[in-house]
Amino acid sequence: MTHHASDTHTLAAAYALDALDHDERQAFEDHLRTCEACREETAEFKATSARLAAAVAQKPPAQAKAQVMAAIDAVRQLPPHVAPAAAARTRAGWLQRRAVPLALAAGIAAAALGGVAVWQTHNGQELNQDAREAQQQLDAVSAVLAAPDARTVHGRAANGAMTTVVASDRQNKAIFTASNLPAPAAGKTYQLWLSHDGTMRPAGLIDHDGTVVLTGTPAGAGAVGLTLEPAGGSPEPSTTPLLLMTLPA
């Protein structure tokens, strides 16, 4: 932290009043994580600001409520945050097991911010379908990462791609993430599979680096496979798997 303590304390007020620019806000929030006294003061200042807001309360237009109530039908709620502070307090074993999901979560959080930015450009009733789907996918990914029963396995595909699967029986979902995945040849796609008692069931397509939620349920699945298939995918694997990742029990 480059600020002196006194500077930072002065900024708590500006922060609570939203009078910091974006970078300063970010820097102050970083500082808050390590400064208990600042957190306390900031909480009081925020509560004070809230009184300033309540003092100018105005009745919203009558039709607004019906519009909002209708709009939330299409808005998926976010799962709770996985607080970094909570992670730091947890047992080392837990951390080891979860290290990759948390790292993933950081990247996904960055992606989620992009999603929110997209969302903000549309008003409540006209949520863009793509943005909504992207948001739902992010929500699903976050939920899997945050699941207490998340199982993680890493792999390296025959074509050099680095892969990770995180599965949660409780969420009944699994996610697959790949990096350094070579672009498939024209007319080809990568296809994911969930192996149930030796039977490979289609679990979705992926054709570039990134994270996807597998279709199908991971509960009872023994492994996740990856093959190269004709564009659009196949009902069963038609090529030798590039990768077979055994899911830990």
């Binding site: 509560a47 600001s49 009184r51 807001a53 309540a54 998926r76 709620q77």
Partner: protein, 221 residues
Amino acid sequence: MHAPPLDDRLRPSSAPFAMAGAVPMSQPIPFAAGRPGGSGRNDLGEVMQLVARGDKDAFSVLYDALAPMVFGIVLKVVRDRAQSEEVAQEVMIDLWRQAARYRSDAGSVATWASMIAHRRAVDRVRSAQASAHREQAQAAREHTTAFDEVAERVETRLDSEQVRRCLKGLTEVQRQAVTLAYYQGLTYREVAEALQTPLPTIKTRMRDGLIRLRDCMGVTT
């Protein structure tokens, strides 16, 4: 001893300066005792738990309790009514979306909602400003000439006797620093420019002003 909820003091008949159409909130916002399980007044905390589980009836209750504050502060900062209605609706939908992320140990539901609303309003105003970046210096100069009028407006339109009284207890610079930032959405740099006061002084006045307001209003988290 906590101050009574802000709304208990809302007396529209005693606010002759209130702008036309200003209507007091229909539902109380429980400001006192933001901590769960404390005094039993944290009703919205329980409502929030239901909302976080997708309960739309609970959200309806939350809407009634928070929408006037949300709309009021957004309108204050954004000023354009049509835009404010849009932003306020986005905020209310966002409260639904983010309900599970509310943490009672960080403050009351009303505080949380006001932060989301105010930030969204400020972001809206600043993104509009950013598109006219070259005119910012000009805008700041206009703020300079307008701030007296601004301070006046803020004071006379306040629905809350207590906030009005407490703002009066601030020094001139403290009050301007706080209200230009919060009600006009200026950054502290813009406030410093508008008041032609050095940056460190503004930072200090802003903090002193907020401390004095906090103490005057008996704010606890």
